[in-house]
């Protein structure tokens, strides 16, 4: 995933073109990842808040359980201070509410760190892309002038 470094001042138009294409691809890919990460952050946020809300309820309280987005069935809360966390690769861990909230917070922080790092990278790549495009335009102009002079 590393961009092979080229010297913009001496690069040929073809080299600049492929660098441009690669940078564009990278910028799009990073943008998508960023979008996915921010979605994940909001999901963990929502989960954390759900645990918090649950822990304040009393056992036996009536509630509606969503089976699908539009179908709900009545039920009762059986346990307010315990959650099962899906930590990935098929492993689930039983925790009390406090630790569950803690887990969500930790995840949110972890993803935020990644978002920040990715953001930095994206800005860097965008700058590089602009630079490459500037050089590409200049090189094309040079070539156009050269052919005119030659004709």
């Amino acid at each position: 995933m590393s961009t092979s470094s080229i010297d913009l001042r001496t690069a040929t138009l073809d080299e600049l073109r492929s660098a441009d294409a690669q940078l564009r691809e990278e910028v799009t890919a990073y943008g998508e990842s960023l979008h996915m990460l921010s979605k994940a952050v909001s999901r963990y946020h929502a989960s954390g808040r759900a645990i918090e809300a649950l822990s304040k309820e009393t056992v036996g309280k009536d509630m509606l359980i969503p089976l699908t987005e539009s179908l709900y069935v009545p039920g009762k809360i059986a346990k307010t201070n315990g959650v099962l966390l899906d930590v990935g690769t098929g492993y689930f861990i039983e925790h009390d509410a406090e630790k569950g909230i803690d887990y969500c917070k930790r995840k949110v922080n972890f993803i935020r760190e990644n978002v920040d790092a990715l953001m930095e990278l994206l800005t860097k790549k965008r700058k590089q892309l602009v630079l490459v495009q500037d050089f590409m335009r200049a090189r094309m102009q040079e070539q156009a002038q050269a052919t005119q002079a030659g004709a």
Binding site: L84, L85, V87, G88, T89, G90, Y91, F92, I93, E94, H95, Y103
Partner: protein
């Protein structure tokens, strides 16, 4: 001695063959890239699971999803299993990484071969001035 036409035809055939191998190499490389990406995803997912498991106290209850069922797991065993999986994925990543390097080298070599062949064919088709 073969006629120039026969030599040219033979070279052309070789060029087609070489181009085909070059393409196959490209396909192998993109398959390898996908596999590498998957391995690195699995690696980070398993690392995170292991980190969670390490944070747990010994009496914590851990379950593993096997098919549709959640099976109770011994914490130590779970740690061991995830650790082993990590080792396996790391080895797999390394193997794929090495393979990627080899493929890239092969592709470059092929590219050189093809270019040489094309130059030879051009020289043969156009021997200083042509027909």
């Amino acid at each position: 001695m073969a006629t120039p036409q026969a030599m040219f035809a033979a070279m052309q055939k070789k060029l087609t063959d070489e181009s085909r191998t070059y393409e196959t190499l490209g396909e192998e490389m993109s398959a390898n890239a996908i596999a590498r990406q998957q391995a690195s995803q699995q690696l980070s997912e398993n690392e995170m699971v292991l980190k969670e498991l390490e944070l747990l106290e010994d009496e914590a209850k851990v379950y593993k999803l096997i098919g549709p069922v959640l099976m109770k797991q011994d914490l130590e065993e779970a740690r061991g299993n995830v650790g082993k999986r990590l080792d396996y994925i790391r080895a797999e990543s390394e193997r794929l990484e090495k393979k990627a390097g080899e493929l890239q080298k092969k592709q470059l070599d092929k590219q050189k071969d093809i270019m040489e062949l094309q130059q030879k064919m051009m020289a043969l088709a156009n021997p200083s001035g042509g027909e």
